[in-house]
Every structure is written in C-alpha cells, then in structure tokens.
Amino acid sequence: MTYYSYLRELAEKEIIAGYTDTYFPEEYLYALSIHPVRIMSDEDEPHLADAYIQGFCCPYAKNLLEQALKNKLSFLSAVFFTRYCDSLRGVYEVWKTEKLSPYVGYIRYSQVTKDTAVEYLKEEFIHVFSDLARHFDRTLRPELLKEAIKVVNNKRKLIENLYKARKEGVLNIKSRDFYSIIFSSTYLKINDFLDRISKINLTAGNERKGIRVVLSATEMDNLRFFDLIDQIGFYLISDDLASGTRYFKDLVEEGGESLSELSANIARRYIKKPPCSVKEPSDRRIEELIYEVRSSEAKGVIFFRTSFCDSEGLEYPFIKERLEKEKIPHIYIESDHRLSNYQQIKTRLEAFYEQLGENI
C-alpha cells in the first residue's frame, strides 16, 4: 500500500497529524492518541504553489505546499510547523492563511542547541499541545506522555538497530529498500512498521556489493535517488539525514512524573540531538557525519543540497574543508527532491564512483 492510500484508509479510523521536520516532538501526539506522520515530498510540479510562493522558495518546501493545494493531504486533521528554515516558514504562512488543514499548529521553536533553551521550550511544548488537546477534546495527561516517551524511544532504538545491522553486514539489502523501510517508520503505525521489518527478506540478493558511501543532506526522501545510487554501484551504508541517523540518535530521558518534568526531558532531547544546519551551534553535525563514515568504513560522502537551502549553502564550505582534512572524498550534488537534473546527477555520481574505485 502506498503512503497516500495507507494514510487515507487510516484517517477513517483515527486522527492523523502531519509535521514537516523532525524537530517536531511526536511524543505528544502519541500521548494524545493522534497518529504522527512526517509529510514526505512527491514529484509533482509546483503548478498551484507558483501562485502562492516565489521560485526562490526551496523546492522541497514548496512541494509540501503543492500537495496541500492539490488536496492530496486531506487525511491530515492537523499540520504542524516548527521554526525551522525560512522556506518552510514561508510555506507555513500560506498554509495558515489559506487554511489548508483544519488545524495548523506552530511551535515557536528555539534555534539554539544550548541548555539555556530547555526551560523556554518546555513551556512552549506544554502551551502548544494543551491547545491541540483542547481542539480535539482530549487531555494531555502526564502518565500517557510518560508512556509515549517510551514508545518513541523504542521506535528510535529499533531504527538504530536496523542501521547497526546494516553496518555489521547483517541487513544486506539494497539502499532503496533500506531507505524505503526507514522512511516508512515516519508514517506507519508502529505495529505495521514492526510487521514490515519482520518481512525483510535477508536472503534476497545479498547486495552488499559496491562502494560504501554515506549520504549527507537535510532531507532526501525520493526513492528514485536511492535507486540511482544502487544502479551506479554504490552501497549506501549510512547517512546524515534529518529523517535518518539524526532522527534516532539521542533518546528522551525516561524519568520524571509531572507534565513539566516530562516536557523538560523532551525539550532537552530535541535541543541536544544531532543538529540540522538551521540550529546553532551545529558543530556536532559535522562530528556525527565523520563518525558515520568512520564507523561504517565508507569510502566517501555524497553531499546533497537542495537548491535555495540557505543553511546548507553556508554549511557546505566547512563540511568540505573538514572532509578534505580527514581525507574523505566527497561529491557535492545540487538539485531538488524531484531530481530535475537527473542525467547530470547520474553522470557526476558515475564519475565519483570511478574516482572512488581507483582509490580502493
């Protein structure tokens, strides 16, 4: 079942809320029995969105708007934005003004990765999710939030184990198949996700051939890209993606009883987790990328930047410098989630493959 059909069917039974970046604390939705879903991109051209937002809005963010304007996301009873990047901020303003979902939530998120932000963000979480609870006639109860923290922590551990198994050579499936599973964790019900994992066919092809690489980007969820990586002969062993390793690293501390204590724990995790480049300071991101390369014995890094992504545009020179210092070969690819310049990407990746092949 596809992403859309699965969620349309699910929406008949329960409330679904969408979010646009992985700083969204899904724990609260589990506590309110609302199913959290990360809105994924699709390959539609931005025909409708063009009338609402300019061409220099990042195409990924713009695509989410396109889907909403086309009414493809009608299964979402609520959609949440956090203060993330300036393109998503623009999309949020249109979404809210045009009332593209029955409920549009916004978290006045901190941009810093410092402890000093914990107290503030805790208050903001309580404020935002109490309002959501009222809207759906529910109550935000500490015991349910405590339980939800465990549920999400377990989900993160499970995903971490999948990555470990891949690094250890136990989960030798194609990059496309691996990432299809990883991304499905952001929209499937947990039981359905477990079911999907149990069906992984470990004997199908034993594909751990190819040159091991790590993918670094904010977000890349187009499976055609992973197909291309497979076709060229790479083996994507790990990543530095918001919905990849940055999603599962660091858990919420499970102690505490009151709403305030639990919310402080949640706030701390999201503030201290491996940062995206829209957060400050972001140094840990580079360290984590190097760690992924070293721990997986990857031969190189594919750095993918979505056009008009400001924070990555400024971050890249330093990632480049650091990778060079570490003598880790890399390639910089600039495109959009639709891979508009597919042929060019393919040619460049092929050349990178050759380059890495020569170095082995």
Binding site: E98, V278, D310, F318
Partner: protein, 404 residues
C-alpha cells in the same frame, strides 16, 4: 527630479567618522562587536564595545556595485550563489581582504539574534569559523504578533546572558548609569525618526524613498550617540522646511506608492526616476523596522526587559498577521494608492509572504499591488528598464483607477 537633501551631505561626514572610528578601534585593539540589525547597539555603546553592523556594510557593497565580485570569491570557497547577497559580499570581503572601505578587520566578538532569518545565524557562524571570533546567539523564537509571557521572560534572560558574554570576552563591564543615559538618547532619536516618517504622510510628500533609505544609517548604527540626535533633528527640520516652503520632490503628486522590502541598494535612483510619472513612494515597510512599531520606545524603568520585548517582536520575527496589520495601518495613514513589492531573491523571510499580502490588500482594501523580482544587493541579472517599465505601467493603471 531627484531633489537632494542638505542632510545627505552631513550624513556622508557621519558615515565617514563612524568608519574612521571603527578602523581606529580595531587598530588600537579595542573591542569591536559585529552585530546583526536586531541586536541593540545601545548595550554595546554602554559597555565601550564598538558596534559594527555587517548588513550596513553589505548595503555599502551593494551601493558600490561590488557584490558580484565579492560573491565570486565566496563562491570559490564553496558558498553557494543563492544565499543572501549581504552574506556573500561580507564573506567575500573577509576572504579577499577587499571591499568598499579596504580590508575589513575581524571582530573581537560577534552577537546575532535569530529574530530575522536563518541566514544571519549561519552567516555569523561562517565568520566565526573563518575569523575565530567568539559568537553569541540571542535566541528569539518567532512569534505571531508580539513577545508574550514566558517568551518575554526568555528574551530578557537571553539579553542578560549576552551581557555576561560580552563582559567575559572583552573584559568590559556593564555600566548601568551610562546605559540609562544612552537608552534615553536612543529613545529621543526614535521619536525623531517617528516624526520624520510621519512627515512623509503630508500631501504632497516631502521625501521620496531613496532618501529615507539613505538616512537609515544613524538609526541602525548610531542609536544612543549625540551625533545621531543632531543628524535626525537636522533631517526633520529640513523636511518641515520643505513642507513650509512647498518645496516637494513631486509637486504635482498624483500617485502615492508604498515600497515593501529592502531597497535595491545599487539602484536607489530608481525612485527618483519614477518621479517624472507624478508618482512618489510616500512610505515603505523597511524603515518601519526601526520605527516605534517594532524597535519601539524602550521602557526606561525596565530597559533590558523592554529591549527583550522588542527583539522578540522584531519586524521579521512576527508572522503574516502582524505584517498585514502594518500594511493596513500604513495604507490608511499615508493614503497609499498601490503597493510595489520588491520580491527580494536574497531575503526569504521578507519576501515569501508577499503574494499572500498582495492578495489580502486587493481583497480586503481593494488596493492593487505589483510584485517585481530583484535582489537588494546583487545587480547580476537586474534589468532596470524592465523594472521601470513595469512600475510605470502600474502607475498608469492607478491613474486610470483614479480617473486621472
């Protein structure tokens, strides 16, 4: 056309003195802080730390049309060409040790606030990595209308933490008495600025947009200093004089326009050029960011908290509801006939809501808009004739609406 203000001459001296001081401080090894425009310079003046605004410097690069050249240097280092042209110009300047005022010395410290864009934060981070200058980020989570409750408490604490950071990194202490004096001068200047902006509501309007943008410099960099007050008084009096003497840039004014977004720094003459069509830009949204609505008159009995409020509710830290309120107020106060929205490729937070705002103006107030795409600082790809042609057509259509 393009009637010049006498105050523009004295402004040149003011800018020259400021840059002379900046270089002198840097050479003498006295602390210099790079700030983004949302950070209150008053606190730095009170601590004897020289406040320098790279965005202002960026505008200078724009006006001198050297941004593309500096950008190429940044791009060579790996920075991409689609990031804000202020950042490209500044980073290119640091890397090449070239620019409109010669080599730019690295700062002692940097302070920035997240109250405008993500760009600032990553730009300051880049300078920190290049220059090694310690950086403090004033975290200012975005609000809908204004800073409130726990958000305001947080903003106040952030400013107190910033003061500790400045002391720790520069060895300078916070002088409460001096600070209060500076805040009071700063407030006086803000009142003068408000008066200047209000004088533009006069029919005919005494000052076109190019001039007000030029005269923003003291509002950005000199708040709290004596020369700031004397300059603003001079400017205010000159505008009053113009009104008394009926000496207007467009005496037979027929169309009153509003400019939304940053100006096109490399083509401030654009505004003058349009005067021949009996049109004048009577107001803009950009200079409002330093006006009483956003930078505010600080509460002198509780200045840090009050600064916290205004940083938290800064012009680009509010959401579309507040941006619309502002437009609505300005349209009415200045009898605006149409909105010219500069869709600035560099500035997403300012620009990405413009199509919605244009729609609102049409639907709610029947005010027409035109959206022109350009960049505030980088002239690459700028087609002046096309821009003028489009605005002229817009002016003509307004004349038709008005039966002129």
């Amino acid at each position: 056309m393009g009637k010049r203000l006498k105050a523009t001459e004295s402004l040149k001296t003011l800018i020259k003195n400021y840059y002379d001081d900046f270089f002198k401080w840097s050479q003498e090894g006295k602390p210099v802080a790079w700030l983004n425009v949302g950070v209150p310079c008053e606190i730095f003046y009170a601590m004897d730390v020289f406040p320098f605004y790279p965005e202002n410097y960026g505008a200078m690069c724009g006006a001198q049309k050297i941004t593309p050249e500096l950008s190429r240097i940044a791009e060579y280092k790996g920075f991409t060409s689609d990031i804000c042209s202020y950042a490209r110009a500044n980073i290119g300047s640091i890397l090449s040790k070239k620019g409109p005022v010669g080599e730019l010395p690295c700062p002692t410290i940097q302070v920035e606030t997240t109250n405008s864009c993500i760009m600032i934060m990553t730009w300051w981070r880049s300078v920190e990595r290049i220059c090694g200058s310690p950086t403090f980020t004033i975290d200012a989570p975005q609000v809908m209308l204004e800073s409130d409750s726990y958000h305001l408490d947080y903003m106040e604490k952030e400013l107190l933490r910033m003061i500790d950071f400045i002391s720790e990194k520069t060895g300078k202490s916070f002088n409460e008495e001096k600070f209060r004096e500076i805040v009071s001068i700063s407030n006086e200047g803000k009142r003068l600025w408000a008066e200047i902006l209000e004088l533009r509501a006069h029919k005919p309007c005494p000052m076109n947009a190019g001039d007000i943008f030029t005269h923003m410099f003291p509002m950005v960099s000199l708040r709290g200093t004596k020369q700031y007050i004397s300059h603003l008084k001079f400017l205010r009096d000159e505008l009053k004089e113009r009104i008394e003497n009926k000496d207007f840039p467009v005496p037979d004014e027929k169309v009153r326009l509003l400019w939304d977004n940053l100006p096109i720094w490399f083509d401030l003459r654009l505004f003058d050029e349009l005067e021949k069509y009996d049109a004048i830009f009577v107001i803009d949204t950009y200079t409002q960011a330093w006006g009483p609505r956003f930078m505010g008159i600080v509460d002198e009995s509780n200045p840090i908290r009050s600064f916290g409020y205004y940083v938290g509710s800064g012009f680009l830290n509010v959401q579309i509801e507040r941006r619309w309120q502002l437009l609505e107020e300005l349209i009415s106060q200045y009898s605006v006939d149409g909105l010219v929205m500069h869709s600035d490729r560099s500035c997403k937070p300012y620009s990405l809501v413009q199509p919605e705002l244009a729609r609102m103006a049409k639907e709610r107030l029947n005010i027409p808009s035109i959206i022109i795409e350009s960049d505030h600082n980088d002239q690459s790809g700028y087609d002046r004739d096309l821009v003028i042609g489009r605005i002229k057509d817009f002016i003509d259509s307004i004349k038709v609406r008005k039966g002129l």
